[in-house]
Amino acid sequence: MPAKPSWFNLTSLVLGFSFLYLPIVILIVFSFNESRLVTVWAGFSTKWYTALLHNQQLLEAAWVTIKVGAISATLATILGTLAALVLARQGRFLGRTLFSGMIYAPLVMPEVILGLSLLLLFVAIDQNRGVWTIIIAHTTFSMCYVAVVVQSRLSGFDRSLEEAAMDLGCPPVRTFFRITLPQIFPGVAAGWMLAFTLSLDDLVIASFNSGPGSTTLPMKIYSQVRLGVTPEINAICTLLVLLVTLGVIIASILTKRQKLKRIEEERLAAAHL
């Protein structure tokens, strides 16, 4: 039976969640403001959302962001999974500790340093900056997140499954796609989602490595805010919040359903024995 919350608990709850969500609530509320002034309420309207559809620059930035996110997340997932496989599988080799330490380093490296060093690299190799340099930069810093997620999934993986597949005549590469990948897929998918969100989120590294025609949404928002916040910004941010919330809800429903299905199947199996 749930206990009646005490006044102290209730106050803590309200304070804590207000601290977290009040700014976002304000952002959303004012995206429906009639007035052009962000802080003065003048009635409900959806006109800023309509205006958004006609703001070519913002839409373009959104498209660049999604493109960069999808491509860099995919590349980071491939590279990160490979790195995780080597670190989890190769056993002890010379410099293994160094390598596993080095893969975690970008997690704690200041973004400014990462962005700057990549910029210096691109300048040194005389690479014109644009969408591809952002993609490479994002791949670099998000692949280590993927490696960490996939590695944790691999640590619980039963190697004898791969041996069984090979024993039954399956060559190693085919074994990876038929047996290993389906088993670690939740980890790989989570890694991709993480990499995609990180890329969507990033302002600092993208600013260092972008060029003409490759402005991402965070960069666009940031530069517009410096000229003054318009309700249009509120509207696009609300859409972003909506997108992220939807993603989280779908992901949790999927995992919950999978868990329920498994419990149900096990119950059925037990009934048949």
């Binding site: 004898s160 499954l161 041996e163 069984a164």
Partner: protein, 383 residues
């Protein structure tokens, strides 16, 4: 402890006694090191076609490593492995006509029973029709027709074990490797499955190699047993020979229970040997072929079921008889194990079958009794 018959004794099947017979599998001077640990030490072993061979030993004795070397998951540090006379060096596991049933069963969790069994056939590039008929054949062989669409986690332990068996047999391998196949099953199911394995092996006429730490399992299923310790084979013989003529103290004590009395040989005439035991302070006679000679230190070993207990001293002079006191009785249902204290530092065990319903023990705690055994019941161990 319950005793079982000494395995399937097929008197006509003795290829290892025929010098003209070619081995089906041969390990030749195999050594496998993991770093500084020697898992398999200069080991040679010949296994014949249609033999059911058991590698028996405690954990870390190298039995699993030997099996994995044959499957191709490990490469020998030195030595060669032959299958039908062909060197297997450099042949990857997926190209060896050998299939293995894993201890964990290693069923693919994301595939149903049918897909699991069909996996190996699919790898062979068989037609869909043939895969279906072979899968069906395997399912009926292990009596799981109704479970085709189940996923592994929807099966009981015994059912999983049978799926694993069906999957490893589906490709009709030349050799089937069984890595502790029944370890996860309960005792009753394990005993049933052991008999099923024997039937299956005879029915399919395949060569089976089983790795186990369970001596009763090895005795039940195998034609020959290799008892292993520290990476070497101590004895390779039929279950009957292993039990009745163990070649060393380790083998004798590993298989079943045995009483061992240390002593020195005082007289020897052909197979009739007399041994002086300082613990008992007396002479014991035994009829057993041994290379040990007068003056050598040796041990006399007798299985507890070959001992008799009586209040009166046996009449027969050729029988060994020593006096002792009943120290403890372990009632096992079918038999009782009597611990008889025969000297201050020596307790011997005798097994008595409970042939009648037990109401009152004729021989009980603290009774003074005679422990006797025939001279051809014991064996001489020299190492």
């Amino acid at each position: 402890m319950a005793r079982k018959p000494l395995g399937p004794i097929r008197r006509t099947f003795l290829p290892w006694d025929d010098p003209g017979e070619q081995p089906f599998i041969e390990f030749r001077n195999i050594t496998k090191r993991f770093g500084s640990f020697v898992a398999v030490n200069d080991l040679s072993l010949k296994i014949y076609e249609r033999e059911f061979h058991a590698l028996l030993g405690g954990s870390g004795c190298g039995k699993t490593t030997l099996m994995r070397l044959l499957a191709g998951f490990e490469q020998p540090t030195s030595g060669q492995i032959f299958l039908e006379g062909n060197d297997l060096a450099g042949v990857p596991p997926y190209k060896r006509p050998i299939n293995m049933m894993f201890q964990s069963y290693a069923l693919f969790p994301h595939m149903n029973v049918e897909k699991n069994i069909a996996f190996g056939l699919e790898m062979d590039g068989l037609s869909g029709k043939e895969i279906r008929s072979r899968t069906h054949e395997m399912l009926s062989l292990v009596k799981l027709e109704g479970f085709r669409k189940r996923k592994p986690h929807q099966l009981s332990g015994g059912q999983r074990q049978r799926v694993a068996l069906a999957r490893s047999l589906a490709k009709r391998p030349k050799v089937l490797l069984l890595d502790e196949p029944l370890a996860a099953l309960d005792k009753k199911l394990r005993e049933e499955t052991q008999l099923e394995l024997i039937n299956l092996q005879e029915q399919l006429r395949l060569t089976f190699l089983i790795v186990t730490h369970d001596q009763e399992e090895a005795m039940t299923v195998a034609d020959r047993i290799s008892v292993m310790d520290k990476g070497s084979i101590l004895q390779n013989a039929t279950p009957g020979e292993i039990y009745e003529q163990p070649n060393s103290r380790f083998v004798a004590e590993f298989i079943g229970d045995i009483n061992v009395l240390d002593g020195q040989i005082t007289r020897k005439h052909r197979e009739d040997v007399q041994l002086f035991s300082s613990v008992l302070g007396g002479h014991l006679s035994v009829r057993y072929p041994t290379s040990a000679d007068v003056g050598d230190h040796a041990a006399l070993a007798i299985r507890p079921e070959k001992m008799r207990i009586s209040f009166e001293k046996p009449e027969d002079q050729s029988t060994n008889a020593i006096q002792g006191e009943v120290w403890d009785i372990a009632y096992m249902g079918d038999v009782s194990i009597y611990h008889i204290k025969v000297a201050e530092t020596e307790t011997l065990r005798a097994i008595v079958a409970n042939t009648t319903r037990l109401v009152e023990r004729p021989i009980s705690w603290d009774d003074q009794v005679w422990l006797s055994w025939d001279s051809d019941a014991g064996i001489i161990l020299t190492r």
